[in-house]
Amino acid sequence: MNILSAKNIVKRYASHTALDDVSLDIPAQSIFGLLGPNGAGKTSLIRIINQITGPDSGEVFFENEKLAQKHIEQIGYLPEERGLYKKMEVGEQALYLAQLKGMKKAEAKKKLKYWFEKFEIDAWWNKKVEELSKGMQQKVQFIVTVLHEPKLLILDEPFSGFDPINANLIKNEILDLKKKGSTILFSTHNMGSVEELCDNIALINRSKKIVDGSVKDIRKENKSNIIEIEFSGNMMGFTNSLWTFGKLGEHSIDGDVTKAQIQLTPGSTSNQLLSSVLPVVEIHSFKEVVPSMNDIFIKKVSEGNAVGTQSNFTE
């Protein structure tokens, strides 16, 4: 089941279109990565899901119901640009924000205690926000986002501003929340964390969705059919043995070990390649080169821009 479906969302501002016919399906209890370069329209989409702004056309469904004010309490939002009332005390402020999300005061207090202890910031309850370090403020903000146990968590660049130790802490919390049943929509430029965390992604560029699907499938679709082989033996014999299965690409020789990339010819399989080179050289490693999400991201965005440039002039 999809926890959130956006259908044909269009959002226009005076001089440009922020979202152009974007549709998304976010399966429940998964981590969904919303990717795209700066200014692609991610924040506009997130704001629409949070009902901060409305779309010019298109609809959003939350658990198959049309998105409405009551769903606010099911959503937790951590914006990229974070901020708290500087002059307000930490605990008081966390309580206030929790109550705005519809929590009862006593309940919010109990849960806040738990989280504050877990994140080791309970000594700061009565301090003003401006006295906290940036990392601690981020922790407070994260707690406030997840406190009301929302079904859908929207995290915009959740790791920015954290040191590696705390980033890891947050990462584990995210995985834990997923295990407990939450769905996480998570917008980032950090492709490493996408590969590590996300089940599904959508890539938005220039107001349009250009790719979406599960991370596994996308990587498979974008695989290059390049095999990297490490071997020792006669290079000439190796090249001859490729036959029609593949073409030698980049290669380097380090002592008696050669590393070579082979582009499979269409219709050939890696097994055919392996069996043909096997009698000729001694194989140390044999693996398919799978593109990273980073490569896919850059490739897709630059492809899109090459096409998009022309239409841009007509705007």
Partner: protein, 446 residues
Amino acid sequence: MNKILLIIKREYLSRVKKKSFILMTILGPILMVGIMVVPIWLSMQKTEKQKVEVIDESYLFTDLIPEKDIVHFDYPPTTFQKAYDGFFDTDYDAILWIPKNVLNGGQKGINLYYKKQLSNSAQQHIQYSISKMLYEVMLAKNNVNLNLIKDAKDKSTFSMLTTQVDESGKKKNTNTDLYMAIGFVSAIMIYFFIFMYGVQVMRGVMEEKTSRIVEVILSSVKPFQLMMGKIVGVALVGLTQFLLWVILSTTLYSFVAATFLKDVEMKQIQAKEEVIKIGENLDFDKMGKIEQPSEAVQFLNDLKSLDVSKIVLCFIFYFLVGYLMYSALFAAVGAAVDSDADTNQFMLPITIPLIFSIAIAQVVMQDPNGSLAVWFSMIPLTSPIVMMVRMPFDVPNWQIGLSMLFLVLGFFLTTWLAGKIYRTGILMYGKKVSWKELGKWLFYRG
């Protein structure tokens, strides 16, 4: 609705708990009572009498100038020259010289030589006493019956009553000065309230915008709720401060008065008499005519001539709705800009009608039912101030009703417009906004 209450509560508490609020609330009454009490207290401290040596060559005033608590007169049998030469060997503060021919135009030669300046009231006392005595002596010299004069004066002096008559035949005494004062003071209060707390709303909005917390809050509540919550919260802060000032000032004043100024009231009355005397001093026709006790009664009567409850109710209405309307505009300005420096261009159109209303208040008071007064008490942006200036002067009910209706409509219109600007502006960063841009925001869809 519940969320609006939460926002109001936060806006209210976070401001009321501020040190600056507590400080202002305590300092305000102390300052006010201080302004009232310190001059009286200071005048009480000056118990040292000033001594004046009178050289009366006319012998008309010897031993006759009335003593006063602040000034003492001696009449040594000496000449002016001697007294003058030995002035610095004596402890007299001043020499009063009255020439021989004082009855034949010599009064202009009366001179006070001093080494230490006499207090203003002592000087006034001397001048007034001598002038009065001269007047009486001159009349007596010509065999004029002083009692006759006094009697004639009493019977011919009056201050004209003004009475307003309405259609039903009811009569009403009026006191224009009092009306002007009431109208102007309430108008000024509205002016300051709108300004002080309107700017607080604007700063609050800017704080939320620049600290970026607004995005988190807007994922929980609608922009309009946040804006209205802030406006109402700040209004309550203003009312609290206002109320505390009134209560604290009265308590403090009565406490101070009871402890330190027990006999001040008597002195105050005396001082008042003096002021009146001095005022009348220049006008001999009114000399001796003092109606001290009836003044307070007169004041109460004048107050009764006003429909006080109507004025108070109207004041509260214009005070609140006027503030609500303006603070919505202030909130919109706060949302449209990124920094203090950018507020000026948008503040100007908001402040102009406010300042303009105060500027024309004088004209309105002179002619409270003139066309200028009527027109500007209808236009919503100026009506809260202009109508309050007019209010004591018996404004027709239909005009009040119409003006209130316009103000409420104006409030809805400005709040609606401000809400649109607020909604877009609050999430717009790093862009210098122009008027044209603001206009576009009005047409964005939520």
